[in-house]
């Protein structure tokens, strides 16, 4: 088990955003959280990342208690998690290379290894020739790949993705979905993907969680969830 979530609650004002969620995320799986806007899926993701502290319940990552009952035990920077944000959060003042290098340098990884890792990942996402470009000079699809590469280059235990394809047109969306799948299969990384789009969920997931009003409505395989929705 990479992540174990037990009876998690989060309240904003008095309304529960996450309402008693318990969940195990298994090694190497592609788990998709599916739900409408405001169902609590992003809050759940941000609690796993460590940006939001749960009011009740616990989160265990790789056997270590990360947060429990209103207290963050492990800070986000120490949870060994990679994340692709909805707005990508590419640092505009840094080139593609620098965006990828920043985290590695902070971790005091040697220059040679940094170069090696960055070259490898840029090759994987087909952006080798853009390493000196700045995010503003890249297309939407290229920016998505940089965000993905930046998350993976750190070799995290789990990759969190918060609706990263929601702002893209249909063609680019389906092309990038295939690339994400390919990359996940090549690296074997555990992936937790949040979306409101059923097609995206069905094409990416090995397992799907349907959330409603902050609680889990259904957990199952792609086929089980398709049946659930009578898809």
């Amino acid at each position: 088990m990479v992540v174990k979530i037990k009876n998690l609650f989060k309240y904003f004002d008095t309304a529960p955003a996450v309402n008693g969620v318990s969940l195990d995320i298994r090694q190497g799986e592609r788990l998709v959280i599916l739900g409408h806007s405001g169902c609590g899926k992003t809050t759940l993701l941000r609690m796993i990342a460590g940006f939001v502290v749960p009011d009740k319940g616990s989160i265990t990552i790789d056997g270590l208690l990360a947060a429990k009952d209103g207290k963050s035990v492990i800070e986000p920077e120490n949870r060994q998690i990679g994340m692709v944000f909805q707005d990508l959060a590419l640092w505009p003042h840094m080139s593609v290379y620098k965006n990828l290098e920043f985290g590695l340098a902070a971790k005091k990884i040697s220059k040679n290894e940094r170069n090696e890792r960055i070259s490898l990942i840029l090759e994987k996402v087909q952006l080798s020739e853009f390493s000196n470009s700045f995010p503003s000079n890249l297309s939407g699809g290229q920016q998505q790949r940089v965000a993905l590469a930046r998350a993976i280059v750190m070799r995290p235990k789990i990759l969190l993705m918060d609706e990263p394809l929601s702002n893209l047109d249909y063609d680019l969306n389906s092309m990038l979905r295939k690339e994400i799948l390919k990359l996940q299969e090549e690296t074997g990384i555990t992936m937790l993907y949040v979306t409101h789009d059923r097609n995206e969920a069905f094409s990416l997931a090995t397992r799907i969680i349907v959330m409603k009003h902050g609680a889990i409505q259904k957990i199952g395989s792609v086929n089980e969830i398709k049946m659930f929705f009578k898809y």
Binding site: F51, E75, F85, F102, A106
Partner: protein
């Protein structure tokens, strides 16, 4: 160092530098000859003079606020919403009185309306008696304070007009003329912003020291200063400062309870704002604004330039005051840099609400900003005038502490707004990549908010440079700044030298404003 520790240290230092002196001053005023006594306060309430001062202070602040809003809102609408020509130049001209030391305008008007002023030269001494009666006392102080505070209301009106969703006005425009739309839709929507600007003007006018003391109108800040520096009566000075402190505390609590959400919920509209075409009224309004700008801004500045227009005056001014000029620049630079550091972390705290008491730190900063500088100055002396802390009391450090106490609120608010423009995921993305707090600050936050940092530094630099209230009280021997030097030389130096010093002061204050314009020009 962790994020929480950095912010806690910042808050601790800010409280020690800013709030503790004010508390120490209050506590000390409760003891007479080592025994607890409310004598100073009972004298305060019994004295008719104190009630007279309270009335003067409130009446001056209230009148300034009323007239400023009455003039500033229409001017803000003209500059922010219409096709009036030369709007940007008008805005710049109106801002000048706010950024130069306040008493400079009072000096300029004295050179115009005084006994040996321009009016006296042109129309004879009899007329000068009338103009002098107007200038010295309530009317003159009110006139100068309105000129100084007007840009606050103008800028707030323009800014809040930019936040109106144009669709709301478009919908109203389908059923009425612009006057109707402004009266029924636009002004009610921006009313919280106008009210906030009125509060700021009220607080600025209530704590103003330079203009009332130059034009001899008795108000509390002047009384505190006199009690402290002329009669060395600490308890009387503190007691006269307390009513203002209480009034300001009351205003801030009211603002926090009733206005805070309404003024912070608005954001700049993404769509371009709807413009009003002035049509045939354009030339008349243009002439009216030109005349008004000339009276309030151009004429006093032109008088100063004319008065100083002799070479020897500038030579004498430079020779006699070069040390003060250099000190002004040095202290303002050091003050602005320290205040920006405080503002960076407190602004971050305010925007990200890292702790539950985020608003408390902001409230303290706002309270200190609103408090008259004379009170902060007396507080600083109370706390640091000991043998053990003489290195602070007898050096420029006490001036810097005064600047930090008074102006950190500005940098906190500016930086909070700047941080609100940066997506939180920018920092979170670094955090999740195992990048520590200090590296995130230097590698991500500082580069992303650098324009905001530069703008904040320049604004704070201007405020430190023009500061008179605090510096006048706390400056140690041989540490006077140019603002203080002009104020102390005013009574017994040739008018030409004072005018030359005022022009130099105005120029070195306006230079950063010019740079600020260049820095922010792309944003506008």
């Amino acid at each position: 160092m962790s994020k929480k520790l950095t912010i806690l240290i910042t808050i601790f230092l800010f409280i020690v530098i800013g709030l503790v002196p004010v508390i120490a001053m209050f506590v000390k005023s409760l003891f007479v000859g080592g025994h607890f006594s409310l004598e100073s306060y009972s004298l305060l309430f019994k004295s008719r003079q104190q009630w007279h001062l309270l009335f003067n202070s409130l009446f001056l602040a209230g009148s300034t606020t009323f007239i400023t809003v009455l003039l500033g809102v229409p001017l803000g609408i003209l500059f922010g919403k219409t096709d009036l020509p030369g709007k940007k130049i008008f805005i710049i001209l109106f801002v000048i009185p706010l950024v130069i030391p306040s008493y400079i305008l009072a000096i300029a008007w004295f050179y115009c309306l005084g006994r040996s002023g321009i009016v006296s030269g042109l129309f004879g001494r009899e007329i000068a008696v009338v103009t002098l009666n107007f200038l010295f006392g309530f009317s003159g102080t009110l006139f100068v304070l309105v000129s100084i505070c007007l840009p606050v209301v103008i800028i707030f009106t323009i800014t809040y007009l930019r936040m109106i969703n144009p669709k709301l006005e478009e919908a109203a425009k389908l059923s009425g003329q612009w006057f109707f739309v402004l009266r029924k839709i636009s002004i009610p929507i921006i009313a919280p912003g106008i009210f906030l600007s009125a509060l700021i003007v009220f607080i600025l006018a209530l704590g103003e020291f330079g203009v009332p003391s130059s034009l001899r109108f008795d108000v509390f800040p002047v009384e505190s200063f006199i009690q402290f520096s002329a009669f060395y009566d600490f308890n009387a000075a503190t007691a006269s400062a307390m009513p203002l402190g209480l009034i300001i505390l009351f205003i801030l609590v009211a603002e926090r309870l009733f206005l805070r959400k309404k003024t912070t919920q608005m954001t700049i509209a993404k769509e371009s704002i709807l413009k009003i075409s002035l049509g045939k009224a354009k030339p008349f309004l243009f002439i009216a604004v030109c005349v008004f700008t000339c009276i309030t801004v151009v004429v006093p500045l032109a008088i100063l330039v004319k008065k100083s227009f002799v070479l020897w005056a500038y030579k004498e001014a430079f020779i006699g005051s070069i040390d003060s000029i250099i000190r002004s620049l040095l202290y303002a630079s050091a003050g602005a840099t320290l205040i920006v550091v405080f503002g960076f972390f407190l602004g971050y705290l305010l925007e990200h609400r890292t702790f539950r008491f985020s608003y408390a730190a902001d409230s303290i900063a706002i309270f200190l900003f609103a408090l008259p500088g004379t009170i902060i100055g007396i507080g600083l002396i109370t706390l640091w005038n000991t043998r053990a802390t003489n290195f602070i009391y007898a050096s420029a450090v006490i001036i810097l502490f005064g600047y930090i106490a008074k102006y950190t609120a500005l940098s906190t608010r500016f930086m909070a707004v700047t941080f609100s423009q940066v997506s939180r995921s920018m920092e979170e993305a670094a955090q999740i990549l195992e990048v520590g707090w200090i590296k995130r600050v230097w590698g991500i936050l500082v580069p992303l908010v650098r324009k905001g940092l530069i703008s904040t530094w320049l604004v704070v630099f201007i405020f430190c440079l023009r500061d008179l209230d605090i510096t006048m009280i706390v400056y140690p021997p041989a540490h006077d700044t140019l603002a203080v030097r002009i104020f102390t030389l005013m009574a017994n130096s040739p008018e030409e030298i004072i005018a030359a010093l005022c022009v130099i002061m105005a120029l070195i204050t306006l230079l950063p404003l010019f740079i600020l314009g260049l820095v922010t020009i792309k944003r506008w």
